[in-house]
Symmetry: D2
Subunit: 160 residues, 4 copies
Amino acid sequence: MLNRVILIGRLTKDPELRYTPAGVAVTQFSLAVDRNFKDQNGEREADFINIVTWRQLAETCANYLRKGRLTAVEGRIQTRNYDNAEGKRVYVTEVVADNVRFLESNNSGNREGGSNNGGGFTREEGSGGNFSRGTASRGNQDPFSDDGKPIDISDDDLPF
Amino acid sequence: MLNRVILIGRLTKDPELRYTPAGVAVTQFSLAVDRNFKDQNGEREADFINIVTWRQLAETCANYLRKGRLTAVEGRIQTRNYDNAEGKRVYVTEVVADNVRFLESNNSGNREGGSNNGGGFTREEGSGGNFSRGTASRGNQDPFSDDGKPIDISDDDLPF
Amino acid sequence: MLNRVILIGRLTKDPELRYTPAGVAVTQFSLAVDRNFKDQNGEREADFINIVTWRQLAETCANYLRKGRLTAVEGRIQTRNYDNAEGKRVYVTEVVADNVRFLESNNSGNREGGSNNGGGFTREEGSGGNFSRGTASRGNQDPFSDDGKPIDISDDDLPF
Amino acid sequence: MLNRVILIGRLTKDPELRYTPAGVAVTQFSLAVDRNFKDQNGEREADFINIVTWRQLAETCANYLRKGRLTAVEGRIQTRNYDNAEGKRVYVTEVVADNVRFLESNNSGNREGGSNNGGGFTREEGSGGNFSRGTASRGNQDPFSDDGKPIDISDDDLPF
DNA sequence: TTTT
DNA sequence: TTTT
């Protein structure tokens, strides 16, 4: 049907890049999104929302996002469940992102070092996908290039 | 910061209306949102997303939504956690709705009986809120009347 | 950067399907979206929003949407301008849709005749696109299949 | 029905604050939103989208937004029309914002001078609105305080 | 009438 | 140029 989410918040940690057995890149991170209102103690709370990205977008996120960075995420809510070690069913709700925007430059001398002059963005690529797999280095002069959409990866591929 | 969700799906059950100790109405339901793609078996899966509504919107949802109804929901993602009976921390992710749209009329002879000629909607009221509490009956001839962020300014007022 | 629109409203007329000189399908229609508030006379006004769809999505819209149908549209706002016959510059703002959802079935005995059991949808396909061109007949048993995104068509292609 | 827009872009000029005859503040500005794809010449174009804000939000925008600032806007598409000096009907499509987020601090020594440590935001207040009118000075130590749709209910109130 |  |  229709399922659309747009968030702006800050990463609670550096993103984690993994690969499925089939070599597909997956990056996860959590976004702290401050609420627009204060609680009864006058404190502004936040929602901590788990984000998942796939393939090229996963690699770009792993390369350019860092803890604390202000970031915009567009995607859809996904629910899934699995049985944990104790045999109990665990329900997971997360946002599968297909568009991520870096709202702050990487000016600190971290490994990427790049200065992104005013907001990089990246979208999940089309399904025709000759995307690089099995490696986090894109060797692309402009990490914020563009593209389309889709998802042809089964949940069975998930490494988590 | 910014946190916006828009969903269209069908209720998996009738909604559940409760009241807080302070008498505030809360309605919960789950929306099945079909995915736009098929899994590896060619099956179209769905995401099951928990929705929470408060106050007058909660009462309207309890009165007019039913299992299976096609429904649009607008709101924000909320995360919270609590310790369950076994002392384990449970993490919850849900959508707090502030706008719900009934996309199908209640034509079947159920208790509401109302025919909503082409799509009712309802919005959460402002915070000033002298909302009715402690009762599910609104006694309003048109449940799909107004709401929310009105703008009581005529176009004639425009300085441009 | 980021540019996302989601609308639910009713078509003010039947959609219009055209083709660019290069044979690319384009469908336009206008959506009447009722406002959530009433004006100073107690009347509920509407916004009339122009929608454009391309390629396969254009053909599906032309085939299945009709005047008055309740429809959900997801896309982005586009602005463009051109000089009209009198040499005056005209500014256009419209929504380029990449996801359209038919919220009402085609139950009346119109040419499509199809009953869409509870909400069809369709998304713009990926760029790999071997989409049919030059014809409005899709000959597809399921018009509500899925797909990805992109747009590799220049504005010069526009037939309007 | 449903009408939601979310944009991230840069102001093309300083915002313009005006007042209606009744003394209601209105601020207008235009947002340049870069497209996610390049045109046939390999150039990245932008959409130039007109934004309108009302009342307190208008005054905050006038005080804190400046040309070139990266800004997030949430609102709805509005269409209206009027007859111009030559008696020709002019059609206008614009976004009425109810939530604006300043994604860059005002670090340059401009009149506001404020450093907004990581993103200010502001929401349109509820309709109950005893908003200040007829003046642009808010006299508020923190212009990025809260507002909008608060929920004054503690988690302890939850019946589940 | 367009921003970095 | 506007829908139910």
